[in-house]
Amino acid sequence: MEQWIAMLLLISAIWLLQIRKISDSVPILAFQSFVLALMAGAMWYETKLSHLFVAALLTLIVKAIIIPAILHYTIKKIDVHRRVERVTSKYTSLLIAIILSVAGFYVTSRLHLPSTKFGAPYLPVSITLMFLGTFIMIDHKKALMQGIGLITIENGLFLVAQSISYGMPMMVELGVFFDMLVTVVIIGILSFRIHSTFESLNIEKMSNLKG
């Protein structure tokens, strides 16, 4: 079970690197978050910790529904149906993604952290997710994709938070969700303004501030 979830998450992350159109990213993201919610549910099922259930629910609502919705809306509004632009070629990015995953697993393995009862395999995956998320941001030139990369990173965080530490204290989780939401909203707002100012979302246009 755990292995499956971990694998799905990884695949979804790498998939985000391989998309053709920006709009494709939204469903993948939703799927990823859904898997995350699933995982949380599973954790709840195993540990019977009530707040894990809440977390799962929140994940489902906020991450798998609201945030994708916002992103979808933004993309529609700015209508960037064009192909994504990458720094590296498709295959290079794939290669790097693989390397990063290996790195993530290696790093966590050599930390020889004391294993916990559940979700031990999730730790390397989550760290890898963070790496991949950052790589998504680095690789894609469209401003919006960086938002998506960010959300991938946060998903990685959640994975750890939910699985290994059985979720954070309630209040903190709420706060985090709230932040996520606001972040996405502000990313939306800013990408609107950027698009209206630069007539494009290509962040390579935004490199006037040097030195």
Binding site: I138, S207, L209
Partner: protein, 672 residues
């Protein structure tokens, strides 16, 4: 008794403070600002002089605690004999300069903020007094940098001129670099003594391991040497001093650079108390270098104040020679000779302060009257401004160490200490070095004489070259008086060394338990012979012979009746353009020492026959090798490097993110 001196000292400080604030209050009213600022500076100076002489007379140190800065850093003023001596020098100059300024600043009325200038002067004096009297390294550093900062602002006073801004920048950066080295030496002392006040340095520092002492010595030498303007760290000096208003240049050149000497004495004599032999050798070497190169660069100058600045570097060199000699003698346990050398350098500190102050004031007066410092635009001033001429001449003669003026006395003492390196030390190296060093001192003396002739001759004698010079008028009374005070000093301290010895002995005895005797005569009893000099007697004989000669001529052939006629100029009437200019005057020297100046000489003759040219243009481009070969590459290299390094901030968000993630991964791989 001591508390009386304490009161005087505190009062003088308060007067400086009062001068600052009153000047700033009256910054709207130039006249009042001028009067308040400089009169209070004058009073402060007088009080300081009295306090200093009392301390030197009674040997009772003044000690005043002001307040606590942070936890264990207190601001305490402690005037022991060494401080008192420098306090005396500063105060004397303060008196003369403040009188002079009353006249000098009138030039700025309506044009520039007098209040700030006067206030700055007072604060500057205050900071200098603080530098030489505080006894905690942190408060010393604060006072030190405060002094540098104020002098920087005062240099920047005429900041409309671009070269002034450049000078100010160079100055402030170099002095800051110097301060860093001073900080290093103090921190090193702190590292071993675990205290920061001079008291514990004095107690603990002397029994440090030799290597540590060497570090401290070197760092302090570089640090203080920068401020003193020793070559090759002098580059700020010939820029900053001419840029400042003349009375400020007088203070900077006469007194401020001496605070560095004070620092060196403190570190070497109070804290370290003896070290390796090579210390003395290094200092002596730097001294010789500074003296010779300083004056050689100075010879080429046609700007009065720039020349004076270079000659300051040269005199610092002479002082360093004395210091080096005394360090050597100390390491060879020759107390009497050490005493002689230390006396020589202290004496020269006072003398240089006096005549360099006088000369800068003189240059200032010329500037005031003609609005130019370039001697090639002057001439014939001796008739327009007789007072200034005579006073400048006296200063110049003292600078060139001519008897019977004070400059000679200290140079004589320096000569003696250098020669007795070779006479009394038994190592063949020192025997050779001593003679050579003395010879170089002679060399510098001759060059100084030459440059003085050049500057006085070109600026004050013969025909005026421009209308500025032709229409010049004698400067106001206050300025003349300020100069007269110092001119008197040059004579008195020349013919009556006893006055100075009485002060220096107090210091010298602390370190060598020996002292020199003398009233009208400086008398050094060596084991092999007795060296002595008496300018007082010499002067008397000189005058006697003079009177005799005149009398004889009168009685034998009567008064000489003079006719006046045009100068012989191959039959053509003499016009100013035919006179020897400063440039042409120093030309032989430049030709002899070509290598040092990196001279680019261009002569282009126009006209069909080379022998009957229509126009000849002669351009002489001179640049000191130190700047071209040492500093410029350094600066260019730094800038080039930083321009390369700036590439990391390429404005691209993705690369920034890459930096982040890489940092993270590396750290994760790093930790165990």
């Amino acid at each position: 008794m001591a508390d009386f001196e304490t009161r005087l000292f505190v009062l003088s400080l308060l007067f400086f403070v009062f001068g600052t604030f009153s000047a700033l209050c009256f910054s709207r009213r130039d006249k009042w600002a001028n009067i308040f600022a400089h009169s209070s500076a004058l009073v402060g100076g007088l009080l300081g002089t009295v306090a200093a002489s009392l301390v030197l007379a009674t040997k009772q140190p003044i000690s005043v605690t002001a307040w606590t800065i942070v936890s264990d850093v207190t601001l305490r003023f402690k005037v022991d004999t060494l401080s008192a001596y420098f306090l005396f020098v500063i105060s004397v100059l303060a008196v003369a300069v403040s009188v002079y300024s009353i006249g000098y600043v009138t030039e700025y009325y309506g044009k520039k903020p007098i209040g700030w200038l006067g206030g700055g002067l007072n604060l500057f004096l205050l900071s200098m007094v603080a530098v030489i009297t505080v006894d905690h390294s942190v408060s010393f550093l604060i006072a030190w940098e405060f002094m540098s900062l104020l002098s920087f602002f005062l240099v920047m006073f005429e900041h409309e001129k671009p070269e002034t801004r450049k000078a100010g920048y160079v100055y402030v950066v170099m002095t800051h670099f110097g301060t860093v080295f001073i900080i290093l030496s103090f921190l090193t002392l702190f590292f071993f003594t675990n205290r920061l006040d001079f008291q514990s340095f004095t107690q603990a520092a002397s029994d440090l391991p030799a290597s540590v002492k060497n570090i401290i010595f070197l760092t302090s030498l570089i640090g203080f040497g920068t401020k003193a303007g020793m070559i090759p760290l002098h580059v700020w000096l010939p820029r900053a001093h001419p840029a400042a208003p003349s009375h400020i240049s007088a203070l900077m050149s006469a007194v401020m650079i001496k605070t560095a000497i004070y620092g060196l004495l403190r570190v070497n004599y109070d804290f370290l108390k003896g070290g390796a032999t090579w210390w003395g050798a290094v200092v002596l070497g730097i001294g010789v270098l500074s003296a010779v190169l300083g004056i050689l660069f100075g010879v080429a100058e046609n700007d009065m104040k720039r020349f004076l600045a270079f000659s300051s570097a040269e005199n610092i060199g002479i002082i360093f020679m004395g210091l080096g000699a005394s360090l050597l003698f100390r390491s060879y346990h020759e107390p009497l000779l050490g005493a002689l050398a230390l006396t020589a350098l202290l004496y020269h500190v006072l003398n240089h302060a006096i005549f360099k102050g006088l000369l800068f004031m003189g240059a200032g007066s010329v500037l005031y009257a003609t609005h130019t410092k370039n001697i090639n635009e002057l001439g014939g001033l001796i008739r327009r401004m007789p007072w200034t001429a005579v006073l400048f001449l006296i200063g110049g003669m003292s600078l060139a160490a001519f008897p019977p003026l004070n400059g000679f006395m200290s140079e004589w003492a320096t000569f003696q200490s250098l020669l007795h390196l070779s006479f009394s030390l038994h190592s063949p190296i020192w025997k050779t070095v001593g003679g050579l060093a003395a010879a170089t001192l002679g060399l510098t003396g001759a060059f100084v004489a030459g440059s003085v002739v050049k500057h006085f001759g070109t600026a004050f004698l013969a025909l005026p070259r421009t209308s500025h010079a032709a229409k010049a008028n004698e400067v106001p009374l206050a300025m003349r008086f300020g100069m007269v005070v110092l001119a008197g000093g040059t004579v008195v301290f020349g013919v009556w060394p006893g006055l100075v010895l009485r002060m220096t002995n107090q210091i010298v005895e602390n370190y060598f338990h020996q002292s020199l005797t003398g009233h009208a005569m400086l008398y050094v009893p060596f084991h092999r012979s007795v060296e002595s000099i008496s300018l007082g007697w010499m002067t008397i004989i000189f005058l006697a012979i003079l009177l005799l000669l005149i009398a004889l001529l009168r009685v034998s052939v009567g008064k000489s009746n003079n006719h006046y006629d045009e100068t012989w100029n191959c039959g053509t009437p003499l016009v100013p353009t035919m006179e020897y200019t400063g440039t042409s005057y120093s030309h032989p020297v430049l030709m002899i020492f070509k290598r040092l100046y990196g001279i680019e000489r261009k002569i282009d003759v126009q006209g069909e026959y080379a022998y009957y040219p229509k126009r000849i243009r002669h351009r002489l481009k001179i640049e000191a090798i130190i700047e071209t070969k040492l500093y410029r590459p350094l600066i260019r290299g730094t800038v080039w490097l930083s321009q390369r390094l700036r590439a990391i901030q390429n404005g691209n968000l993705q690369s920034y993110l890459a930096y982040m993630i890489i940092t993270l991964i590396v750290l994760l791989l790093w930790i165990r």
